[in-house]
Symmetry: none
Subunit: 113 residues, 2 copies
Amino acid sequence: MKTKVTEVGEFIRQQRERSAISLRKLADRAGISNPYLSQIERGLRKPSARILKAIAAGLSISAETLYERAGLLDGAAHPEVMEAIANDNTLTERQKQALAEIYKSFVEAPGEE
Amino acid sequence: MKTKVTEVGEFIRQQRERSAISLRKLADRAGISNPYLSQIERGLRKPSARILKAIAAGLSISAETLYERAGLLDGAAHPEVMEAIANDNTLTERQKQALAEIYKSFVEAPGEE
DNA sequence: ACAGAGTGCTAGCAATTGCTAGCACCCGTG
DNA sequence: CACGGGTGCTAGCAATTGCTAGCACTCTGT
């Protein structure tokens, strides 16, 4: 199931407001100009991946999330978390279990914030 | 850290030659102009993510790979788990970060055992 | 030898990105 | 009231992207 439709800028604004941070402050953190961030949030400009990455860092979210939102990555064809963990040979069994436990606790306790 | 390595254009050229396909043909497949692809391969231009994605499709490789090479994504030593986490809609951003942190700490701290 | 198709590259341009400077507005404090 | 300091936004520009047109070179085949 894809969380599409939301424009990148719109999503960025949501995330920013959810963090109760001003536009200028986020622009500062991301190292970009505040007018430009403003235009991005309103969908007037299509930022480059470099800028998206900086914004993601400023928002403390993953760049992948923004890229996907921007249509720069298709979220399809990605393995599920549990499956990926199980298939990762660099993890010990104990680590796999620990990760799985944590993941499950997150999923089963929604609305967390 | 890490992920220094080869320039993205250099990598593209390697992949293209490994496929024994001409520059023009790849440009055609990717739907971009051949002079521009030429400049990208020689490192004269920094292509946008949109173009990188198209090239990746033309080369039948994942966009993530190119993004990573271009410095648009970091980490990715173990993309499966990280991507699965990033694309899991049931997790909040905070939870995603937490899981990613834990996973990374596991992977980057070997010698366990 | 010439024509033709294939290769990669240079030149020059329209459109877009991302910037600085500055406007209009809303607060709180003297 | 006036003065900062905060918010988001508009205007205008330099730099960059990504394009079309065309050059120089190498192979084929006739």
